[in-house]
């Protein structure tokens, strides 16, 4: 009886709000089971479980092959340590207390989190600075034509320089530390974003602008109240596309000169021939990078919903 009920549930669309209300128990609110069903829509829950299931399965296959290859001695665990070994490295807090990773001053229990936070805050700070500067610069170039003509050609030439190529300059100019890493993130995004701002501002639907003009808007008001909100979603997309570039930039900077954060873990692991540490660093880099992108996507959908991703 119950099995049949759940079975009939799976067939329904999870985004259909009616299907939740149609459940007799949820309507009545009888007993605790009814309440649970009301609080957690079963259809949604099944959708999430199935979605997570595929991730676990996909990852599980890779891990299983890897572990198997090591167990059968096809590969050397010193060079390619299997996941259970390098994940265990998280407990090896002493490794991270090394001055090379830059986490000496912090209490011992959350070193991994501290290291992640180091890299993360550099990226976020760099992106925030780049966003503010690019939008300001782009708006000025759009508003004052002469200013645009004077600056945009140079910016166009600076944009294709890879973030990694800025690292030597960053280290010479800012020394070893946070500021160099933040600068690399900033510089890897700011030019592209400035150009994107100007281009998208030129492409705003004329009807939006004319509507505002008919309603009595000045040129400044048109830019502030119409053009700026209209381009915001696209700017966010440009940021998201360049996110991995920025992430790469900060890690490379951490590996080469900055010597703290996730990038440094990977290098320290290699220097000590401790591949457990290197792989742990790599796994964390992948995971944090993914979560960063996913959270950007979430903001995009929730806050900047007026352009759906399909339109972009």
């Amino acid at each position: 009886m119950r099995g049949r009920q759940i079975g009939s549930w799976i067939g329904r669309r999870e985004d259909d709000p009616k299907s939740v209300e149609e459940m007799p128990e949820a309507e009545e609110g009888l007993g605790y089971r009814g309440w649970i069903k009301r609080l957690i829509p079963l259809g949604l829950l099944i959708g999430v479980v199935v979605g997570v299931g595929w991730w676990v399965l996909s990852l599980g296959i890779v891990v299983a092959i890897w572990e198997l290859a090591v167990a059968l001695q096809f590969v050397n665990p010193v060079i390619l340590p299997p996941p259970h070994l390098f994940i265990a490295e998280i407990r090896n807090q002493a490794q991270f207390l090394m001055p090379q990773v830059g986490a000496t001053a912090v209490s011992g229990n959350f070193i991994v989190l501290t290291v992640i936070w180091m890299s993360l805050q550099r990226v976020l700070l760099g992106l925030a600075l780049a966003f503010v500067s690019a939008v300001t610069l782009g708006s000025l170039a759009f508003y004052f034509e002469i200013f645009g003509k004077l600056t945009l050609p140079t910016i166009t030439l600076l944009a294709p320089i890879a973030s990694v190529a800025w690292i030597p300059l960053a280290i010479v100019a800012f020394g070893v530390g946070d500021r160099a890493a933040i600068f690399v993130v900033f510089i890897s995004v700011v030019f592209t974003l400035t150009l994107g701002t100007v281009n998208n501002m030129h492409n705003v639907d004329q009807v939006y602008i004319n509507t505002a003009r008919v309603l009595g808007a000045s040129r400044r008001q048109v830019i502030q109240h119409v053009i700026f909100p209209a381009v915001l979603p696209q700017l966010f997309v440009i940021m998201r596309i360049n996110l991995f570039g920025a992430w790469m930039g900060v890690l490379a900077a951490e590996m080469v000169g900055v010597r703290s954060g996730l990038g440094a873990i990977v290098v320290v692991g290699r220097q000590m021939m401790n591949m457990n540490l290197t792989f742990l660093g790599m796994a964390l880099i992948g995971l944090v990078g993914y979560l960063l992108d996913a959270s950007f996507g979430l903001v995009q959908r929730r806050v900047l919903w007026w352009k759906s991703t399909a339109q972009l």
């Binding site: 009807v207 004319n210 509507t211 008919v214 309603l215 009595g216 209209a230 915001l232």
Partner: protein
């Protein structure tokens, strides 16, 4: 209030360039206070250009336009333009869209919302005040756009094929809705359309523009009491009249276009 006088207005696009186009030639016209005027003509005759100039978004190359006796030099609070394309700002709720003009004037948030709500009620969208444009149907979006235009108290509503993108039923609904709004409001309406039935159904007077360059071909008063019936001998008579006048112009427009294309290929 709401009287528009056009004297000899001419519009040349790209004046002084090889691609110079004479869009409108010596159009003189008076739209009376409270009048509902429809403008019809073959596509490309400069109907929209004409409306843009009345709105003050474009300046005539020569000639003058006055609104309530004052020369039109740009957009003004006395005139409002409603577009064919959806023009509500997708990032604002229906209420904030309607209140947008007041926001530009610096009216405080609470007051402008109160005033906007009144106009939303008038167009029957009060329950949709906090919905965003993508949650509204095409007809609702146009009604909100009309409310936005009314909210600033314009005496003249300029409408550029506002219902052309809507399906037939919604279009009929919107037409009677527009008449309801207009009747007894004392507002002047200039309504551009390529739909003869729409013009005859709505307007006090219909003017016909010629194929490019647009000139004033004819001005016909519609002497039918409202509500008008689309199926009636009178309606049929007006429809026949306009179909005939327009057909000649459309043929001319086509021929001109073909000629232009032929010349283009010769040059190439």
């Amino acid at each position: 209030m709401g009287e528009i006088i056009c004297t000899d207005i001419t519009k040349v696009w790209g004046a002084g360039t090889p691609r110079e186009v004479l869009a409108l030639e010596r159009v003189s016209l008076t739209v009376g206070h409270g009048e509902f005027l429809a403008v019809i003509g073959p596509s490309g005759c400069g109907k929209s250009t004409f409306l843009m100039m009345l709105a003050g978004l474009e300046m005539p190359t020569s000639g003058t336009i006055t609104s309530n006796g004052e020369a039109v030099n740009g957009p003004g609070a006395d005139r409002s333009l409603i577009f064919q394309q959806p023009s509500l700002y997708p990032w604002l709720s229906a209420l904030d869209n309607v209140a947008f003009g007041l926001k530009l004037q610096g009216v405080a948030r609470k007051e402008r919302r109160q005033r906007a709500e009144q106009f939303l009620r008038q167009v029957g969208l009060r329950e949709f005040a906090h919905k965003h444009p993508h949650e509204l149907s095409g007809g609702m979006q146009q009604r909100a756009a009309i409310a936005r235009a009314l909210c600033l108290g314009a005496d003249v509503l300029l409408m550029d094929e506002p219902f052309a993108a809507l399906d037939v039923q919604t279009r009929f609904q919107m037409q009677s809705f527009l008449l309801d709004i207009w009747q007894g409001s004392g507002k002047t309406v200039v309504f551009v359309t390529h739909h003869i039935d729409e013009a005859v159904y709505l307007a006090d007077r219909v003017i016909i523009l010629t194929a490019r360059p647009g000139r004033l071909l004819d001005s016909v008063s519609i002497a039918m009491p409202r509500p008008r019936h689309v199926i009636s001998a009178d309606f049929e008579r007006y429809r026949g009249l306009f179909v005939e006048r327009l057909r000649a112009e459309v043929t001319k427009a086509f021929q001109e276009q073909e000629l232009a294309e032929m010349l283009d290929t010769r040059i190439k």
